[in-house]
Amino acid sequence: MKDRMIDGADGDESGEAPARNVAVAAFGPAAELVGENRYLTLAFPLSGAQIRATVLERFPQLSQHRFSIAVDQKLVQDDQTVASGSEVAILPPFAGG
């Protein structure tokens, strides 16, 4: 499991960190759906799938939309474990170029 961890674990890896407020940043079309100055309450460590589920619970208006999750600017796959983070980004399919 450890090799799937990203970012540094916050202190003791054996116990769950207490729930904390994490900033939510949404971009492109998701920004219009989610709005600004949003927070999620998360207790790390969490899988990408768990973070996605929490995002959808908090923002059900995203349920019909495709998006990726990034924690502290790193893309997180559903099966990846995130040890800690201070910002969750909601990223719809990219459209640069």
């Binding site: 971009f27 492109g28 079309p29 990034a70 990223l91 990219f94 459209a95 640069g96 170029g97």
Partner: protein, 158 residues
């Protein structure tokens, strides 16, 4: 001994359209490197598309670009380093700029300039950087219509 790749500019995201003068400035700089034998460039241009769901006759007049800026800057730098590092050439020079904010029809949202020893690597790197940028960098574009509406741009075709 090949030189270390050059990747520029320091900031890949610029406010407003990428200036047209950039193409010639960067090309001339790359040409001055005595190991460079091929310079390939790509400029994306905003098209006056008619969108499928828009009122008849309405056309795109500009695209408003936005990005998760810090992540996008880093993602562009990383893909450039990865692809330049995989390029076998006596010299690898790479310039990538992407616009933020409003880019009117006919202007450049993106400019890529590549200088290498020979043509095959230059074409491959230029096209590789463009495709990687489209799939790996959190940039968004809102297509603004001359009728007043808007629609989020989707990257659907090559």
């Amino acid at each position: 001994m090949p030189e270390q790749p050059y990747i520029g500019p320091e900031k890949h995201l610029v406010q407003g359209p990428v200036p047209r003068s950039r193409l010639t400035e960067v090309t001339e700089t790359f040409e001055r490197n005595p190991r460079v034998g091929a310079v390939v460039s790509f400029c994306g241009v905003v098209r006056a598309d008619e969108l499928p769901d828009a009122p008849e006759g309405a056309r795109v007049e500009a695209i408003e670009f936005s990005a998760y800026e810090e992540m996008a800057e880093r993602a562009i730098r990383e893909l450039c380093e990865r692809l330049a590092g995989q390029t076998e050439s006596e010299a690898v020079l790479l310039h990538v700029e992407h616009a933020l904010g409003r880019v009117p029809v006919g202007e450049y949202p993106i400019v890529i300039v590549v200088g290498t020893g020979h043509r095959a690597e230059a074409f491959a790197l230029c096209s590789g950087v463009l495709e990687a940028l489209k799939s790996e960098v959190p940039i968004y574009g809102k297509e603004l219509l001359d009728s007043g509406g808007a629609a989020w741009k989707k990257n659907t075709r090559p």
